[in-house]
Symmetry: C2
Subunit: 254 residues, 2 copies
């Protein structure tokens, strides 16, 4: 998978929020020093998560709030018989566990897709934030709405698009989100999903996902090797997915 570091355990754990490398990216809205230091004061931990482990478990109560600092994750729900639906994917800078920390018990799980790092904010501080930092509370609500909007779009995919359109929509969506983070070089970016992940996200069987994936690849839409995807024709892919709106930017980082 994606190896975050090799020498030290948490090389970036000590980095203050003011010097956060994520925050420097143009996708994220500028913040006042006061805001950043409030964020710093809320942050109680910087945690390394191994790929494949839960960051928030289904049914967990009193879940903390996180910001994904590095790596990928996904929200999912599981039916009693084991069927799993991936609700949406999470990339660096995304808030994680807002729903879980507002509602009493988490209705979903969140699992690290790659090795990941998260900034941990104590649940009990969220209330402080609403009282003392209305602008940031507003941004939190904004981020929540943005996530809902992503789930909306996934529901449109699964409910209305055929297999090829779904795969195309998934690729273009992750391509654009990676691009916004500056993670796309020469139309190439890290694409750490297994076909099982794609199948569970798209509501397709593993076999049919595989066949659709290779059909699109052979059709010259993209190349894929070593976990890196090159999207040869983003325009065509977007058209193939039958509409796919761009994101508003910049957005808040908490």
């Amino acid at each position: 998978m994606l190896v975050i570091n090799d020498k030290s355990r948490l090389p970036r754990a000590g980095i203050p929020c003011a010097a956060c490398p994520l925050r420097a990216k143009p996708v994220f809205a500028d913040k006042s020093d006061a805001d950043v230091s409030f964020i710093q004061s809320m942050k109680i931990d910087h945690r390394l998560i191994k790929a494949g482990t839960d960051i928030i478990s289904p049914g967990e109560t009193n879940a903390e709030l996180f910001t994904l600092f590095a790596g990928w994750a996904y929200r999912y729900k599981t039916l009693p018989d084991g069927r799993r639906q991936i609700l949406n994917f999470l990339l660096p800078g995304d808030i994680l566990g807002l729903q879980a920390s507002l509602l009493s018990a988490s209705q979903h799980g969140i699992e690290a897709l790659t090795d990941a790092e998260v900034c941990v904010f104590a649940r009990r501080h969220i209330w402080d934030l609403f009282v003392k930092m209305p602008a940031m509370a507003y941004e939190l609500a904004w981020l929540g709405s943005r996530e809902e909007s992503m789930v909306d779009e996934n529901l449109v995919s699964v409910g209305q698009r055929n297999a090829a359109e779904r795969v195309a929509a998934l690729i273009i969506s992750l391509y654009r989100r990676s691009d916004a983070l500056g993670l796309v070089n020469d139309r190439t970016f890290q694409f750490p999903l297994s076909q099982q992940h794609m199948a569970d996200a798209l509501g397709l069987s593993l076999v049919h996902t595989s066949k659709t994936w290779s059909r699109l690849r052979r059709a010259g839409l993209f190349t894929f090797s070593g976990g890196r995807l090159t999207l040869l024709n983003p325009r065509l892919t977007a058209r193939m997915a039958a509409q796919f709106e761009r994101e508003a930017t910049p957005r808040p980082l908490i």
Copy 2:
């Protein structure tokens, strides 16, 4: 459909929030007089919406915030070629347009399913609410998370459940929500969806929805006539839907 009133145009328009009949229902959390009068001060209109008309249009900017006072509505998205996905249904007391008013342009539309009444809150007042009323801002975020959680569950349906399970899940979900509002009598409640609505919500064709619907009806799961549905066996229906969590209650009403 559902005729709200016959004599006067807006019989309840003049009712102050303090005397709101919705608020009296046990599903909704108690609020202080100060909170209620703040809500009253934010409310700029009480509007009657005819069934089938948009409350928020797709792409609308500067959408206001609403609380659904009476009737049903639904959020939807449409693809360029006309395919429509219903994202979730809205019942009295639900907040409406939060995502649209936080994000710059509405990514979805909201349409009245029956004749409906809405309380209108000016978008510009939302910011005031965050500054002056942190507890209510928190509740707003809570309601946003709750809506996301409903979309999550619909995504699980469409992605993982087969046709019969989807129909059962839809029925039990609307049954429970109606029940929480005290709208269920003797297992019978108003069910104003056409089969086209169900099809668009469940990601099924109209024909297959009709066949599945009548198969479940003939199997003795429910009876339906005159827009009213009697759920003969809620337990069985819930089991048939393969898990369906109950809602936390009470919840905030704004």
